[in-house]
Amino acid sequence: MPVQQAISVDEKDTASFLKYDDRIQEGDTVIVYVTYGQTLSIIVKRGQTCMMKYGALRHEFIIGKRYGCRLSATAGYVYILRPSSELWTRSLPRRTQILYTADCAVILQLLDCKPGSVICESGTGSGSLSHAIAMSIAPNGHLYTHDIDETRTKKVEQEFREHGLSEITTPVVQNVCTDGFFVTNSCDGVFLDVPAPWEAIKHAANAISRSRGGRLVSFSPCIEQVQRACLAMRKCGFIQIETIEVVPTTYKIVSQHRQTLADFEEAGDAYPKTEDSRRKRKLDAENGESLSCQAPIRKGTSIVFPYQQPTHTGYLTHATLMPETPDL
């Protein structure tokens, strides 16, 4: 009866990033949530201390606590969260420009990632997307992630080990543009984030399983890279080639000011300034969300915030390679 099996949530062999223990154990990777803008990833180890904006927090205090708990550091409160690929993307040590969650999320969709998928990626970079892919293809898929820089692959290899993802991942030092991918005729999807994707596309076609076919996604900041990549994809037999651009906008909740002319004549437009959080006590400040809701005297409304936001990361070109079926 598969039902029983489906809900066992606590197995020895499940990896750290995939397991759902209630309480934090030594050796776990946890996310220390300081503020919305500051999250840290640490491996809990007796004797160590985590230093951040709100002072010091000894790891001893973390062990045995429940995930989601609020802990006092020396100069404020923090929350201890479970790692997830989204929180990892925000907390990871950056060695390169990284792919953020909005792009990672779309890329997983475009690659049809699911448990069991075999995916090739280049470059590894700081491993932001690598983690997202690995989490989505666990427990029986595999990720081959390629980079020309050995320090990067070594680092991500170590992270995968710490996060219990090493069995489903293989970091490779290899220039996919010149030397192709680590595997041929075997993967379900290839992701490219390289300066000259058109050089790698015929290798991508070789990496994809000939019997199953597969998906290709290429990320490029410049339209000229996209143009060359599209030509190369077409030449290599990819179909349904489409280029999209995803641009997220983030909002903030503020209390809404709605005056009559008489109010305005009397009081002027004492518009709630975005920077007037100075009066906030530290307790309020510890998470960035409480601003408007501490004193909900007025109705909440949303504004685009911050005023300046990312307006472009890259174009995503995706395509399908059909299986090499015999003529019937």
Partner: protein
Amino acid sequence: MDQKVIENGEYLIVQKVDGEQIRVMRFTPKQKILIEKLKFDADNAFGKPYGLFEIVGGDCIPMTAQKLRDEIEEQDAALSVMSKKEDLTTGDSVDSSCEEKPSERVVIAPSALKLEPEQKRQKLVQDEVLEMKKQGTTGNELVAKLVEGSASFNTRTTYSQSKYIKRKSKKHSDRVLILRPTIRLLAKSYYMKDPDRIAMLRNDQLGLILQMAGIHHSKNVIVFEQNLGLITSAIIERLGGKGACIHIHRGAIAQSIPCVHSMNYDEQTLSTFLPVRIGCVLAGKQLPYDNQRKNGTDEEDLDVRAADVKELTAEEEEALVRRNDRLAKEKLAMDLIENGQTHSLIIGSRTIDPINVLEQFYHKLAPASTIVIYSPHLNVLVESYEWLVKNYAINLNITNQMCRVLQVLPDRTHPLMSQHIAGGHILSAIKVLSAENSS
């Protein structure tokens, strides 16, 4: 696990190459498949591998990737002759020919040429086209002929050329993709066909929901959605046969979830799908089955139930087995909820006030759980945001996102002139413990 060939009774994605529709349909014997004026017999597809087909006289002839590549090479050769440019050194490797600059292929024509009416330019008359079609000329050949026949083709701007080719291709292309459904294709199909019924949920936003909720193998997730099962189905796929997708539904059985049915999930994968009746949620306990109650009258389940009807004699027994299975799964799901073993709550709202759903489930989620709410209406999320802040949630974030398709063609690159743009907003948060509960 994955099948290799098209089977009788399967749900399939059918799409014309460069067509506008993506259709999800179940292939049954003797069925006529009709898509954007192209017609073929389902029978001709059975036993053949999924992929690209050329439809000639109602038959489906598979196209290989190699065949496609050969064809493209031919076309390119023809084009380079057409553009009257000296051939580039043809001995080049594939690599360097990929690097060919876009601008070398087609030059933007000088401006300001008077355009004559289309009829005058087009020498191939309608009758001829019909005749050729009857003789089994393929779409691509036809387009080539039409382009030849258009006397002023070379003097028009490439912008109009592109439009011209596109228009012609659309009209005559006889190629069709027959694919196993994927979440991506289902999402696109419903978004294009009937965005209202999935609350305008786009594939890119669906991806964001999954990522913000952190859905992966073996997780226990509660989902209430009004998106035709799209979110539910995506969760089921990402769980990969382990974990729980607790699906809160109206009525006696889960209804209006065509996106779950049409994914052809195997038994193991479907085992994580645990439907729970709203009635039970509101009652706070599992209720007995109420036979009087109408079960699912929505269109989506009609074919499922139609299939049931056929075996009317065995029906009672089977129904009992199915019901017991449903009840067992529901019990399991409700226990997981009550025992605080769920780690994510996803609400895909179309008409529901998310706060009402939060009130039912939020407090039962394990601490550090993720909450993701989708709604086409920002104001609904603003209120949910305020509710969450008051109930110990952190890491709150509201986003929406633009998703735009670009036309990438040599010298004619620009975002599509018109696209579906409707979409929703996503609120995400993480539940934490209050100070008192933290120690």
